[in-house]
Amino acid sequence: MGIKLNALLKSPWVFHLSTGSCNNCDIEILDCLTPRFDIERFGMLLAGSIKHADVLLITGSGNRKSMERVKRLYEQTPKPCLVVAIGECALSRGMFIHSYNCPIPVDKVIPVDVYIPGCPPKPEAIIAGAVKLIEKVKKGT
């Protein structure tokens, strides 16, 4: 593993992207930045602009309007970048699986590296997912 990837894993700046979620997952993501969990000790920061981001956190079921934007934003992220799907909706569309407005899940549109289940997942689960992501990148490729 090169210095490039090593540095990336030690300072992943995250960008959170809601594709039509109920906002619970977004609130839980913001919880990770609070003093109780403090993910800045692992070097993670919340990036405001997609051009500064290394990790895309995707929440929500991905409806017809937002999936185009997700694809465009993924293309705008400077590579190498990682994608994390958070919450039941982003994983499998949850209760909206039969909805006319959610024809395809997120991972059919862009490659997803880690799935974090839960409705919404606890901050502990999100941090555990981030650890698994780092282990996965360290081990493979």
Partner: protein, 307 residues
Amino acid sequence: MIYILYLVVYGFLATAMVGLLASWIDRKVTARVQYRVGPPLLQPLIDIVKLLGKETLIPAGASKTTFLMAPLVGLASVIVVSTLLWVNNIFPGKSFLGDLIVVVYLLALPSISIIMGGFASRNPLASLGASREMKLVLSYELPFLLVVLVPVIKSGFTIMLGDILSFQAQSGAIAGSISGTLALIVAIMCMQAKLALVPFDIPEAETEIVGGALIEYSGSGLAIYKLMKNMLLFTLPFFLMILFMGGLRFDGIHLVFGILKYVGLVALITVIRNTNPRVRIDQAVKFFWGPMTIIAIIAVILALLGK
């Protein structure tokens, strides 16, 4: 040849090292103020290494040359300024006539490079950030220039940094007098605005205009801007130390005092940035052209009267 060595060793390496360390102190103190643990020691360096390894995207329709050149202009000016300051401080005999004016001019260039980069990136939010930065430069430069006059008057109308330093070595720091104290207060406010930190982080307000002028920068361009900002976090307090507090001296106990002065200034910047909300741009202009300019003029008059 020796000047290239100064440029690389003092201007770049020493400044970048101290600047990255200061940026870590800033983040750590911020975290402790909020009852968090905070990032590890090497975090600012890791951030920059990571950004250097990432893809550099150029927005469609942007002016490519200006977009890529702007960060380099800013970094180069910071390197030259810090070389001048270090060399003046270590070998006071080597200063030349008018280097104070050169330093003041070069310290305006980082802001101008951010304005260039913002306007070149063809993004409405970046243009908004750049125009705010321009207004901020216009507002803080007036009191800053007035304040720089105080040490000049105090040390017998000299515009050489070396003379100001040797004057302070003989007859105590300028901040010890009334006019010096007033000038130092105004200078610290101007420094906060020059560093674009809260309460004057209007040009890059993360929550309003998502990064302002830097919104379209990615990869190495962003890395150079981050490095420039971290280096400014050393250069500006160091400049104020030279002007008002007798600079950094390397003989015996004075070295400890010098380091304490620097750490004190950085801690003050951090505390100001953690205890204040962001002001609007019109409030910032009113603040700098109103109270700050008046205090600066009073300080200049007191200095002329010899107080």
